[in-house]
């Protein structure tokens, strides 16, 4: 489904607000169309909603500031977004529409691993610069030079997270991981299992479910029969993670809970209920109100909450930062040519809402296309996210 109405309205308002601030006759009529993809319906919809909102906020700021000055031209930014429902086939269709129908050269935002692979079959041959928050090793590599991950993935967070678990909660010996049965889920469980084995934990279960599952009793019965000390709802999106935790509690599980890829705890708490969500640790989420995040992230959170009446998760911040980095690179390149922008992107760090943002990941992916920033470990306490530790991904330590 095409979600253009709200964004078009935002752009129109921004145009109206800035109508008197630009010089008549300047190049204000030029439009830069940027694509955003994501699941905007279904169990992973919260990911897509945050992606669109993060992009929308940065686009509006740029438009309100008079537009994006690239060389001697000034561009109004127009967003076009499509819902792919977290389905790879729909994602490929949406990417084709963006690239060949809407003629976009930049897609800033997408989530859910398998959909990223599908989108890349279109973006890489067409040299479309593509930023996403999908998790998985296959989404980054030397054969995909135009692709960037704007958020830390399981490969950056799993090891430092479980190192922290080992240090702070030595009673945890056996861990069960459950993820959706797709690229995202497989990659996350693989990273979790690798980290667990490397740190000397026992892997009690390494299980997968089909996206859209509502009744987790059957699979949880199998998992809980392995007597895990800790249950990691690894790559489950918030709605499904909430159901898993709720149903695990109903089946009598009382141990520690992790959410390695957890990024929207508000939704998780609302679905699971406070009791079932109590104590969930997550290394991928952030609390935009905490002292562990930068002042700029806190300001972003306030603005987001004022505008959407919801507290943003890490995806909104990540896509806002990605939008910022890409548009700054266009300005540095003084061109919209993606080869020139790509060169500008990889030349130096960018100051963003995260603070100084570094591109890394060559050790894991063979190419530096992973945005790096510190990992914050949070815990859900009485329905609220409380940050409890900060650890560095191995790549950032270097």
């Amino acid at each position: 489904m095409r979600i253009r109405g709200g964004i078009a309205a935002v752009v129109m308002m921004a145009l109206a607000a800035t109508a008197g601030t630009t010089t008549p006759g300047a190049a204000q009529d030029k439009t830069l169309t940027i694509g955003v993809l994501g699941p905007l319906s279904g169990g992973a919809a919260s990911y897509g909603v945050e992606l669109v909102r993060g992009a929308e906020m940065r686009a509006e700021e740029i438009n309100k500031g008079g537009g994006l000055k690239v060389g001697s031209d000034v561009y109004r930014i127009k967003l076009v977004s499509y819902d792919h429902k977290a389905l790879a086939a729909d994602a490929a269709t949406a990417a084709n529409k963006l690239v060949f129908q809407d003629k976009v050269k930049y897609i800033i935002g997408n989530a859910v691993g398998a959909t990223c692979n599908a989108v890349q079959t279109v973006t890489e041959p067409e040299k479309v610069l593509f930023s996403f928050v999908c998790w998985g090793t296959s989404n980054l590599g030397p054969d995909k030079p135009h692709s960037f991950r704007a958020m830390l993935s399981q490969w950056e967070v799993a090891e430092p997270f479980y190192r922290w678990v080992k240090e702070k909660h030595p009673q945890v010996k056996r861990v069960a991981a459950i993820s959706p049965n797709d690229t995202s889920g497989k990659d996350t469980n693989t990273a979790v299992v690798k980290a667990l084995k490397g740190l000397g934990f026992e892997v009690a279960a390494d299980e997968y479910y089909e996206r859209g599952t509502k009744d987790f009793y059957p699979i949880l019965t199998k998992i809980l029969a392995t007597k895990p000390d800790m249950l990691d709802v690894a790559a489950a999106p918030p709605g499904e993670a909430g159901l898993i935790l709720k149903q695990a509690r109903e089946l009598g599980f009382k141990g520690p809970k992790g959410w390695t890829a957890g990024v929207n705890p508000v939704t998780l708490v609302s679905i699971a209920g406070k009791e079932a969500a109590e104590g969930v640790w997550s290394p991928a989420n952030i609390n935009v109100k905490s002292d562990f995040v930068s002042a700029t992230v806190r300001r972003f959170g306030e603005e987001y909450e004022k505008r959407y009446k919801e507290v943003p998760g890490v995806i909104a911040v990540a896509n806002y930062a990605a939008f910022d980095v890409f548009t700054k690179a266009m300005q540095d390149a003084r061109s919209l040519d993606t080869d020139k922008v790509l060169a500008a992107l990889t030349q130096k760090p960018f100051d963003t809402v995260w603070g100084r943002l570094v591109l890394g990941g060559k050790e894991t992916y063979g190419i530096d296309r992973q945005f790096l920033y510190p990992v914050v470990i949070s815990e859900i306490r009485d329905g609220k996210v409380v940050d409890i530790a900060q650890v560095l991904p191995a790549a950032l330590k270097k």
Partner: protein, 286 residues
């Protein structure tokens, strides 16, 4: 693998089967009377979920009163849908198929616009678990299952004992003969569609606190309902119950031995097997 685990798996499978039987009965009732397959049936289930969300979760109405409200509201919506959309499509299976597919998309998109795309949580009306001989039973699911059984029995009594129920059965058996006996076919068709949708609405209301509600929540129950109907036999109430229990049992046990993707296939394998061996279903008439 212990016996306890096998029994627990079976119990898990049976746990919600009766709710899906409700959805299936609604679907088969509509088919029997109007001779159309309503592919938008899951969206009436979804409406029941949203009625529960607003009445129970937001406005704090009593859970069982909310359930009654969901049944009535969705039943009424079904009557309106029959009068406005399906009225002239009785017996025109292909036309009705296309129209109901269109209605499915319209209702889903309408729900996205009206209620938003994110899952909406409905607090559990009953919490806690019961442990019996080492088995764990969720009180919430127990109440849901018992409520579904009550609704199934109520439907059975309605169809057996009430005048409108008997009229529905008469139309389902032979609409022309029923009309000659003075049965108002138009009214029975509207009522049948309404009752069928009401059952879906009731199922949606029952499962709303168990799973949360979302615009796409009707997709899975309607697939299960089709499997149940085909396995049990189109138009058969005992067949639907049997089909539901079989599906629940197979899925519950299957999850212990195979991956989730394979488990999802089991239901369809059952359908293929039944269609090959006994096409009218396990309990369906000739």
């Amino acid at each position: 693998m212990s016996i306890d685990l096998l029994v627990q798996a079976l119990l898990n499978g049976f746990g919600l089967a009766m709710v899906y039987v409700l959805v299936a009965l609604g679907l088969t009732l509509i088919f029997s009377i109007l001779e159309i397959i309503n592919f938008a049936h899951g969206e009436f289930y979804m409406l029941g979920g949203y009625v529960t969300y607003y009445a129970y979760a937001l406005f704090g109405l009593n859970y069982f009163a909310t359930l009654g409200l969901a049944i009535l509201t969705v039943g009424l919506a079904g009557v309106v849908a029959e009068r406005l959309i399906f009225h002239d499509l009785r017996g025109k299976a292909l036309n009705a198929f296309i129209v109901s597919l269109g209605l499915l998309w319209v209702m889903q998109a309408g729900a996205q616009l009206a209620f938003g795309v994110l899952d909406k949580p409905v607090p559990s009306a009953f919490s806690g678990i019961v442990r019996v001989l080492g088995l764990v039973i969720s009180v919430e699911r127990l109440v849901v299952t018992l409520s579904a059984i009550v609704l199934i029995v109520a439907l059975y009594l309605f169809l057996r004992l009430s005048r409108p129920g008997r009229a529905m059965r008469a139309v389902a058996q032979d609409a022309d003969a029923a009309a000659l006996q003075g049965v108002n076919i138009e009214a029975v068709a509207a009522l049948g569609f309404g009752v069928g949708c009401a059952l879906a609405g009731g199922a949606g209301g029952l499962l709303a606190p168990v799973f949360a509600v979302s615009p796409a929540m009707g997709a899975l129950p309607v697939v299960k309902a089709f499997i149940i109907i085909i396995v049990g036999g189109m138009g058969s109430l005992p067949g639907a119950v049997l089909g539901g229990l079989l599906l629940g049992g197979v899925e519950g046990l299957g999850a212990l031995f195979m991956g989730s993707a394979a488990v999802n296939i089991l239901g369809f394998l059952m359908v293929i097997a039944v269609l090959l061996v006994r096409p009218r279903g396990l309990v369906g008439g000739a």
